[in-house]
């Protein structure tokens, strides 16, 4: 089932979106997006609900026509092509397994529609079910499977047709937390083994960080930043991106503009502790301490500002006065921002799909 | 083909059927029956409303329907409540038993009342045996017979609508109320009843509309002495052949049902909030 990519085709991007816009009843859900997805790459579209990521995916699949712009699949204009002629493999958030068909028939469906000879269908279905570890459940109906198993069937069904691109719409969001983490690796393994190009839509930054080769962050219908997850995480361009990736401390430094500091870099100093060299020390009042297993997350007020830090000091209680050490050398600049917090302050528009 | 055209095409056969087999005949018959000698239905209606007999029949129809609705509610709601609170796997069977009569012909279901209520019927024999009457007690062709027959006909509908309303209410709500110090009775009155009420009232309106328009039961159990609007309409239409009068009665019946429908629509909106 491992298909090595052919070098001749590597140059053509699998998916290209050119100035794609989608409006719903006057409100703009996707605002002139340009996106290139290269062969074999795992792309994650990440953003809060209503940011346009699902709308974008549905336009790539052909379920929703763009208001304007061009969609190229394998270099061909596919903007008005109906979904059944796009050769896409989609995994839906609800899985959308056909309830009247067995696991085997579900997986075979796409091949039957393509007129693949039945002998070949049998071997390919067996291969794919093997790949997701469900060969023993081939005769079951979807409702007789657990959520995780249904998820695998949905994945197998999409992979079976050897699509030019695998579209994953929040595929893990209906699983419980533990299973979700397991299935991430499973998803990655299947994508690597098949060599398929994949686009994942998710609102879970951990999922995107773990899976993506290219992480695309959307906000209100626009791409705000994209790149390899490590790069984006190390250098978020704006406060929105930083907050979305879990950063909590935001400062406006004179001469340097808006920056963020990771909580684990902020030192909580005991009464007689000597502050490390460099950086700045501020007086703060602890407002909350949360036990996290190996350490404690401390929330402290500095004037009218709130800072977050990590400590192993077990004696710290809410109300205590402490000194915090801010290593400004480790502060990450947010160059694309004017310093105004956007997350949570602006009502986010909801797009209807 | 545009999406709008596709939707239109899917609806077209049904719309055509309804236009020809429903809207057209219904509209013409109610408001301008050409086949009637006197096509002025509204004039006829005015005359009939001045006539004491039609008013008496209309009043009886509403009275019988209202009493039927009340009794259906008293019998049906407790059954629905017990079914909704029975163990899950038994609910299906109990509900099926309660609503099965809905699948039977009204003729079948009304026939037994002829046996029970007639001059040589069960109740008459029972009264005679007890020495309370000396044979031949006739309960048929009375309002009592009408109400008995209609109640038996419509209680399953009341059970069905009450059940669907009650089955959406989590048992834990009652348990929560009990935990907060309410007695079972109070928990029921203060928590279950208010939540179930809109759905139950929608069911009551269904029963009322059904009882107003029921035909077979009044024909067999009410006879000519206790006519309802439905049997009166049939009499004008098929026996007296006074089609203008039949249209007028049809108009009254339709108005009653539409009013019940509007009230029910209101109630279900209240319930949805």
């Amino acid at each position: 089932m491992t298909s090595t990519m052919t070098t001749t085709k590597t140059t053509t991007p699998v998916v290209q979106l050119q100035a794609i816009t989608r409006e719903f009843a006057g409100s703009v859900a996707v605002d002139s997006i340009d996106l290139t997805v290269r062969r074999g790459e795992f792309t994650a579209l990440l953003g809060p609900s209503g940011c346009g990521k699902t709308t974008t995916l549905r336009m790539i699949a052909g379920f929703l026509p763009p208001t304007s712009g061009t969609i190229l699949l394998d270099g061909q204009d596919a903007t008005t092509l109906p979904p059944e002629r796009r050769n896409i493999g989609m995994v839906f958030q609800s899985y959308a397994l056909f309830p009247h068909l067995t696991v085997e028939k579900n997986v075979a469906f796409g091949l039957r529609m393509r007129g693949v000879p039945s002998a070949e269908i049998r071997t390919r279905v067996a291969e794919v079910l093997d790949l997701v570890g469900l060969a023993h459940l081939a005769g079951r109906k979807p409702k007789e499977l657990s959520g995780g198993q249904q998820q695998r069937v949905a994945l197998a069904r999409a992979v079976a047709i050897r699509p030019s691109v695998l579209l994953l719409d929040e595929p893990l969001s209906n699983l419980d937390a533990r299973l979700r983490v397991q299935m991430r690796q499973e998803l990655l393994r299947v994508q690597r083994e098949t060599g398929l190009t994949a686009i994942l839509v998710t609102h879970d930054q951990e999922e995107a960080l773990e899976l993506a080769d290219n992480m695309v962050i959307l906000d209100r219908g626009r791409i705000v930043q994209q790149g390899p997850p490590r790069e984006v995480f190390r250098a978020p361009a704006t406060r929105f991106v930083a907050e979305f990736l879990g950063y909590e401390n935001f400062l406006d430094l004179p001469g340097r503009g808006p920056v963020t500091i990771r909580p684990e870099h902020i030192g909580v100093l005991g009464p007689d502790a000597e502050p490390p060299a460099g950086g700045e020390v501020v007086e703060a009042t602890v407002t909350a301490v949360r036990f996290r297993g190996t350490d404690f997350a401390v929330t402290a007020a500095v004037g009218d500002r709130t800072l977050h830090a990590i400590t192993t000091d077990e004696t710290l209680r809410a109300g205590a006065s402490v000194r915090l050490h801010l290593p400004l050398g480790q502060a990450i600049p947010l160059p694309g921002d004017d310093g105004a917090a956007r997350l949570g302050k602006n009502p986010r528009q909801e797009c209807p799909a | 083909m545009s999406r709008r055209a596709a939707s239109g095409l899917l609806l077209l056969p049904g719309v055509a059927l309804l236009a020809f087999g429903f809207l057209y005949p219904f509209g013409v018959t109610l408001f301008a029956p050409p086949a009637a000698e006197d096509p002025d239905v509204l004039g006829k209606l005015g005359g009939m409303l001045g006539d004491g007999y039609v008013l008496e029949v209309a009043a009886r129809t509403v009275r019988v329907a209202a009493l039927t609705t009340a009794i259906c509610l008293l019998l049906g709601f407790p059954v629905a409540y017990l079914i909704a609170r029975a163990p899950r796997r038994r609910q299906g069977l109990l509900l099926a038993l309660a609503v099965f009569p809905l699948l039977l012909s009204t003729v079948v279901r009304t026939f037994s009342w002829l046996v029970i209520l007639g001059r040589n019927g069960l109740i008459s024999d029972l009264l005679t045996a007890l020495g309370l009457a000396d044979g031949g007690t006739q309960l048929l062709y009375t309002e009592f017979a009408l109400i008995a027959g209609l109640t038996q006909l419509f209680t399953p509908i009341m059970i069905l609508t009450s059940y669907s309303s009650l089955s959406h209410i989590d048992v834990k709500l009652e348990e929560a109320a009990r935990g907060l110090g309410a007695s079972p009775g109070r928990a029921f009155r203060r928590v279950v009843l208010p939540i179930a009420l809109p759905g139950v009232l929608v069911g009551a309106m269904l029963v009322f509309a059904g009882a107003v328009t029921a035909f077979t039961t009044p024909l067999l159990l009410g006879g000519t002495r206790n006519r309802t609007l439905a049997t009166l309409l049939y009499d004008y239409a098929n026996v007296k052949l006074d089609w203008g009068a039949a249209s007028a009665v049809a108009l009254i019946m339709t108005a009653l049902v539409v009013v019940a429908g509007l009230i029910s629509g209101r109630l279900s909106k209240v319930g949805a909030v």
Binding site: H100, F109 | L220
Partner: protein, 261 residues
């Protein structure tokens, strides 16, 4: 039910009241007496023999079965596309279309029968059988649209998209996915429609013609002139047939689905 003696008593009374009279009819049907009496003096099957041999009932049964089957088929053929449009498509006037398709259910059946009798049979001179078929189809259409629509409303709309994505065009998606998903709803609607049509009296009574009388109407005619256990025997046979239909429905889709439960 512990602690609720009053409630339980009322419920028991209600069940006796609902089912008792039906069982009474069965008992009378097996009577060996010459008149309707309870308790019957003895048991016999003679009323069944008489009922089955009675020609007008045989003819009426044929008419009823034909009309019920025809109207059910027509109502489904017309109602399923309408349910698809109402449940799966967004267009202006969707709510109005839904209200239109459900409206025959709120109109008194007798009034509809009278209207169809006047306009279709008297004015347009359509035959009784034709008028019966049209009238019953109109009567069943709300059930067909509502019950098949409910099965669509419960299904994940992404199913059809999944079909398209896997390479099935709109038609193949309909036949391979939408229709099978709707099947329980279609079966429920068919059972409910057939029985509703078969049992109907008001429409059938007004839309009769020479040789075109349905079974319930024929039973009604019979009761008006002679009061003997023949009708009880027919009722018992209908009851038995209905029980069979209910059991088969239970096996196929779950009995209570017929009522949308």
């Amino acid at each position: 039910m512990r602690g609720r003696p009053l409630l339980t008593a009322v419920a028991a009374l209600a069940l006796v009241f609902l089912l008792g009279p039906i069982l009474l009819v069965v008992a009378i049907a097996f009577s060996s007496g010459d008149t309707v009496e309870f308790p019957p003096p003895g048991l016999s099957g003679k009323w069944f023999t008489k009922a089955l041999a009675y020609q007008p009932f045989q003819d009426a049964l044929t008419t009823s079965a034909l009309v019920a089957a025809g109207a059910t088929l027509l109502a489904l053929l017309v109602g399923i596309p309408a349910a698809l449009a109402i449940q799966r498509r967004r267009f202006r006037g969707r709510k109005a279309a839904e209200a239109l398709f459900l409206s025959p259910a709120i109109v008194p059946e007798l009034v509809l029968g009278f209207a169809l009798f006047q306009q279709l049979m008297v004015t347009l001179r359509i035959t009784a059988l034709g008028a019966l078929l049209i009238g019953h189809t109109v009567l069943l259409l709300p059930y067909a649209v509502r019950v098949t629509g409910a099965s669509l409303a419960m299904a994940d709309p992404a199913l059809e998209e999944a079909g398209r994505g896997l390479g099935a065009g709109p038609l193949r998606t309909f036949f391979h996915i939408t229709l099978p998903v709707m099947t329980p709803g279609i079966v429920s609607a068919a059972v409910l429609s057939f029985l509703t049509s078969f049992n109907n009296v008001p429409l059938s009574l007004l839309l009769n013609g020479p040789g075109v009388t349905t079974l319930p109407v024929q039973m009604l005619n019979y009761v008006e002139f002679s009061f003997d256990p023949v009708v009880a025997a027919v009722s018992t046979l209908l009851l038995a047939a209905t029980v069979v239909v209910a059991l088969v429905t239970e096996r196929l889709v779950g009995f209570n689905k017929v009522f949308g439960k």
